[in-house]
Subunit: 139 residues, 2 copies
DNA sequence: GTCCTTCGTTTACATCTGTAATCTTTACTT
DNA sequence: AAGTAAAGATTACAGATGTAAACGAAGGAC
């Protein structure tokens, strides 16, 4: 599978647009990003090219302007990114970190219910304590 | 405040050790990291130096070997890191992302209870739906 | 058919990161 | 005091990233 870890924050912005639109021309991406960032046209083009090289995007070149489409699913990208970050955290602190995110994010009632039910389920097999592994020789 | 965003994954590993020990000599850090990574001594020293330059660490140089101490709190670092990542995500997908992490993390019963109660609280003011903001000119 | 405008391609360049060797200074041994 | 070992400082170097200008080709306007 494609390694999403190599997607930078800037590239992520580009992908979000293409994921949301399903597909997009460079102009569409540029128009949107020029509103939300201070990037120049050329910068955004570079990002698109790099995303192609990394196999996150592909261009349909059968007609002009090219139409760019994602080669990875947004869900997968998110999944990999968050798990990647959490892999770096002290496992003892993860619960707290999750609490932090929850407090800082807008979440719908439905999603909240889902989360609660995931947690209730998880509680059945949850340990009483999670030990810090920061000094251990884990792989 | 110090910008934790500039802390790389490799540097993060170093910090975890120093946070956990409270303070440490370079030898202590090196001994531990040589077990959990394949990094050479020199590499780890470079990381320590860079962490000093970035003001994440400070060295007490009053005696040899130097004693390195964190200049930022682990809690703050975690807080900033996770929020930073979540700022990049489509806000509509955050609930799902959180569910993902929960499923993939070991969390203690106590932490689970805390999370459930945070969620129950949050539900009171939660919106029915969260709209995708990927195409918007947000700052 | 020629010119201009878009869009795509190439090139650029400083900084950051991963990864480390080497040099230098201190401290410990004998 | 001299030699060696340990720790800190300097230097290295390729690849990634942020940021963008400049160049070339293709299509539309006249």
């Amino acid at each position: 599978m494609t390694e999403i870890e190599n997607m930078t924050k800037a590239e992520w912005q580009v992908m979000r647009i293409i994921w949301t639109l399903g597909q997009a021309t460079s102009k569409e991406v540029i128009d949107i990003l020029e509103k939300k960032t201070s990037w120049k046209t050329a910068t955004i083009k570079t990002l698109i090219i790099r995303l192609q090289k990394k196999n996150f995007l592909t261009a349909d070149e059968s007609s002009r302007p090219y139409i760019y489409k994602p080669l990875i699913e947004e869900t997968d990208a998110i999944h990999q990114s968050v798990n990647n970050l959490f892999d770096s955290l002290c496992c003892m602190k993860k619960g707290n970190a999750i609490g932090d995110i929850i407090e800082n994010s807008a979440i719908s009632k439905g999603d909240i219910d889902d989360l609660i039910s995931i947690l209730q389920d998880k509680k059945k097999e949850a340990p009483d304590e999670v030990e810090c592994d920061c000094l251990e020789a884990n792989l």
